[in-house]
């Protein structure tokens, strides 16, 4: 047994300090990937890591790997981390908490002179948010072999600046080849970005995986007609169809234990006194299992066909299968929480994270802490200090515990 305790004040101070990189007037953060603000926070992180004797490598898409050596030769590193970029109007916790908690773990080990068999590594993945360069989780995806160098370099932001130009501009094109850094395990601490832990008053979420998700665009064609001279029973109202589908899909999702969301709905040529003729809406379906999502998709497709017949055109735009995290890593986090006597529950992430890609090539899991009102991607995003500190302690405990279970 060890008696390592992370320094909560120091952790909180780094959260406050890094919030200056891209701070907006409303308390929010705008720190887009490879922007000058991103460079500042990256330089700061490099400095902090080197100050405690860690060596830093940067790969060819800007992923940063800081390593504290272990005692066993050839042992693969046990990694922590997340991402430093934010949404255009993001907050102080999404992503960066996982990096700063990892830094705090490194500092705690350093201060105590604590030796681990495995190297302990802190990672900052490039462009998790996808807000400047689509798609999201680009850096971790490139590391895991999902995207190649040419694809990443060719991504364009809305000003037409390529990823390649942007990374050269801030000087974060490293020399470490993509995927060269193998990991014994990866633990990512993150705010939940949902309301479950807060509502249930639970401190730690042990993340067993990520929901399966499918995104669709649905175009419904009705008949534009005059709102005053077209009797109710002679209408072909695309919005009435859409309303029935939005509500119906949500009913089906409730019944099957999944989720259905329409976040975008746009009437073509909308006019106050014209019955909508054509509209487009998005459909986001999720379920903990791929089979559950199959059932959800079948019932929703059936609903659309019954409502609109051939007047509806449904197109799948993205598919993400369910992710099941590594059972040993999950068990490690459960034990860590157990030892610390925190309240905990298993939870399935509804959002995508770098760990989804990393889990393809290394044993991976995540640790969630509650966030205020489940809010994220918003200046009002907030997490309580004691939860951040506890999350970092669970992370530390997991790293120590996992030393014994990880293969060397």
């Amino acid at each position: 047994m060890h008696n390592l305790t992370i320094n909560g004040e120091r952790l909180w101070q780094t959260i406050t300090q890094t919030a200056a990189f891209g701070a907006g007037p409303d308390g929010g953060i705008r720190r887009l990937t490879l922007s000058p603000e991103d460079k500042k926070v990256r330089d700061w992180l490099r400095e902090q890591c080197e100050a405690i004797g860690c060596s830093l490598k940067v790969d060819t898409v800007g992923n940063m790997f800081a390593t504290r050596p272990g005692t066993r030769e050839h042992a693969l590193p046990i990694a922590m981390g997340s991402h430093l970029d934010t949404q255009p109007t993001g907050g102080k916790f999404d992503g960066i908490l996982g990096v700063l908690a990892g830094l705090e773990v490194l500092r705690t080990l350093h201060d105590a002179g604590y030796e681990t068999e495995h190297p302990v590594m802190l990672i900052n993945w490039t462009n998790e948010e996808g807000a400047r360069f689509a798609p999201a989780m680009l850096g971790s995806g490139a590391h895991a072999g999902v995207f190649d160098q040419a694809f990443v370099d060719s991504r364009l932001d809305t000003d037409g600046v390529s990823f390649a130009e942007a990374i050269e501009t801030i000087g974060y094109r490293g020399e470490t080849p993509l995927g060269e850094t193998s990991l014994a395990a990866m633990f990512e601490l993150h705010i939940e970005q949902g309301p479950v832990l807060e509502r249930e008053d639970i401190e730690i979420g042990v993340v067993t995986g990520v929901q399966a998700m499918r995104w669709y665009d649905l175009v419904i064609t009705g008949q534009e007609a005059h709102a005053g001279s077209t009797p109710m029973d002679m209408r072909c109202d695309a919005l009435a169809d859409a309303a029935a589908i939005v509500l119906g899909a949500q009913d089906i999702a409730r019944k099957l234990g999944g989720m259905a969301t329409t976040g975008q709905l746009s009437i073509n040529s909308p006019s106050r006194n014209v019955i909508p003729g054509t509209l487009t809406l998005s459909l986001d379906l999720r379920h903990v299992t791929d089979g559950g999502l199959d059932s959800l998709e079948i019932e929703v497709t059936d609903l659309i066909r019954k409502q609109c017949g051939k007047r509806a055109h449904l197109q799948t735009v993205w598919i993400s299968p369910a992710v099941h995290f590594d059972v040993d890593c999950i068990e490690t986090v459960r034990c860590a929480a157990e030892r610390l006597g925190t309240s905990r529950r298993d939870i399935v992430s509804g959002a995508g994270h770098d760990s989804v890609h990393v889990s393809r090539i290394a044993p991976t899991t995540m640790i969630f802490i509650p966030c205020k009102d489940g809010l994220s991607h918003n200046p009002a995003e907030s997490a309580r200090k004691e939860h951040c500190v506890l999350g970092a302690q669970v992370l530390l405990e997991s790293i120590i515990l996992h030393q014994s279970s990880a293969g060397i």
Copy 2:
């Protein structure tokens, strides 16, 4: 009894001929109020009227009054007409049919040397559509005292050009004071702009009035949240509320014999994987009677309150009471249709027309003919030649018949 018959070929030829003023490549017409195209069709109309001995007056908002003298001194004119302007992508019949049919009536009377006791007048009202200058029905409203000269002159188009500038530019500011021209009666022939006559295979609609209408904006505030991490039972989804209200209002309208339409719906900051937090939608409620519309409004308001409580803000943006046309004029059209042996039904207009304003100061009614699929304000707007000819014949018959019933 007379044996006057309008010249259907000549009428149809004028429809084809005037469609050249503002013709687009798709068969549609773009003839915005006081545009160069509007000047061309006005010049053409003036020429046609003067060629058959009618005198033309133009008032200070550009309304055109062509008069064929009657035999009785001081008898007020019995008027026909409608408007020559179109929507930006309008058709060949909306408005202009009523003017051209009136011209055909004047020509028929002229050719036959037929004398009427009352003068017979043809009117072109300025800016019925409201597409260039808001509000709609501006010229007839000014004539009826609803709008004053300064208000009309100050209207701006989207390029910042005022009505005053535009009317001077095309030289159609006349000298006749607003409202000086009193009328014994007004008959406006128009396409139905709805599907009822076509579906019921009826040739003539005897228009008894115009529905009461109220327009509202509804703002619904929910809670923006992540689509993946917010369980279905922890959501406050503004779009789900909106969908329930759109469908519920339509159910209430069906039950009460009215109409409910949402033509605009816009989610604030829409994103595919974000539960909509705030949205705005329009609500257009109509009923044949003001009392019916009151009931409709009460039930819909109640529905909104039950669905959203204080999260909904409903604002009335426009009210138009029910209009009941003149019973004698209506009876005249019924008799005219009866004499001609056409199929006919009473109908209440769902759309606004110049006759709404004119009915405030003179006995007024309208005559509808079917249009294809109920479409208007669209290049595909279409009416059958035999219905146009029949509508003009009913108009002629009504003018002749009304001679005897109109006060001198």
